[in-house]
Symmetry: C2
Subunit: 223 residues, 2 copies
Amino acid sequence: MDNRRGGREQATEDRRRELLEAADRVVLRDGPGASMNAIAAEAGITKPILYRHFGDKGGLYRALAVRHTDALLAALRAALDAPTGRRERVEATLDTYLAAIEARPQVYRFLMHPADGGAQDAPEPPAAESAERDFEVGRHSAPLLRRLGEELAQVIADRIDFGPGGAVIARAWGHGIVGMMHAAGDWWLHERPCTRAELVQSLADLLWGRLAAAADKAGGPGL
Amino acid sequence: MDNRRGGREQATEDRRRELLEAADRVVLRDGPGASMNAIAAEAGITKPILYRHFGDKGGLYRALAVRHTDALLAALRAALDAPTGRRERVEATLDTYLAAIEARPQVYRFLMHPADGGAQDAPEPPAAESAERDFEVGRHSAPLLRRLGEELAQVIADRIDFGPGGAVIARAWGHGIVGMMHAAGDWWLHERPCTRAELVQSLADLLWGRLAAAADKAGGPGL
DNA sequence: TCGCATTCGTTACCGTCGGTAACGCAAGTC
DNA sequence: GACTTGCGTTACCGACGGTAACGAATGCGA
């Protein structure tokens, strides 16, 4: 039908988008762990073509994650680039993240828990001689966190002047801050013990060294 | 054999411990996602008795997690209670955590990714009318993080004097700091870009407000 | 001593899932 | 009109979590 224009590549690209949107709908409805069958059904087709497009479930999830991560990253970058003071930028970034996970908790949930990740070493056939030798702790959790961490690290490294070896510090901070945001956001979304603005203030205060500056409680063990 | 003493309850308790140790070995060897079959085989028995003891896989994993979490918590509490300055305590706590995940990455990996968690709402039969209505983002990730966060929040609330409403701030900080530790530790364990001591210093600096105090890079957009 | 209930353990199975092989069918080409 | 080339299907595989139904061993009252 609409095969005019370049060729089939355009068509398969459209197809891919369509499949991703269907997958998105299903994941949004059923949470992570949505089955490939369900996704295929939602898209009006069957499993094998899903696999032809995305390889395996990890591929589909990765593609989905990239979509949403890109959107979130764009919003965060905007907050990070606002022409205001550093404190305001930090607050805006925190608020942007929290607003995003508040608005679409299912998406957020999916992004943070993408089933597994990928290929440890050898699944199992060769006995199991990987033993404790294989570390490779990584990729168990969310690639999103890693991406956000690296992104923030880049911004930090660009903006703040550490001494030599500063790149590593910036990365540690990037991942650390993202983790802080994530964990606090997760807890907050679950229990809603305060408003978003209050949480933003608390976390910004934490990053602003209030932990070091705060007074001990009376009767404490000193310091 | 050793049925003297109270009765069978003692025996089943021993059994349970034995099974948990077997499960521990398997999880340590095969990573999370170790199958119930494998665990049962390691314990020298078959699946159904595992299910009789722990209900379902979540139950077993929860029991395992509690064991390790308790051990880690004890170590962290010791670091948190050291009779030194606040900065030293923070550094000791960070170092304790990082040393733990460094020493046993498989255990750590398992704790942070306990398969799923539990019972969303209705798995699927009733059509799927939960829709986007059900929030309940929680419990998707690790209960360990929550426990650590609450624990740290308690220590913070005990030791630092916030004004009214301080309990919520302490909890936000507790979860935030734990998340920071976790994410940074995860990244560090994966890439090993620096020594443990260096990471501890970087994170402690971050918590000490160095982000607020640090100088802008030359040519930056000002503040 | 026999029967009987209870407990521990087994084998054998179910439903679902991720993933794949083999086939069917339409369209473009000579 | 035969021939390739993709898209899509059905039908299947192996592994998993979980369970039902059945087999010994043990304790106990008659």
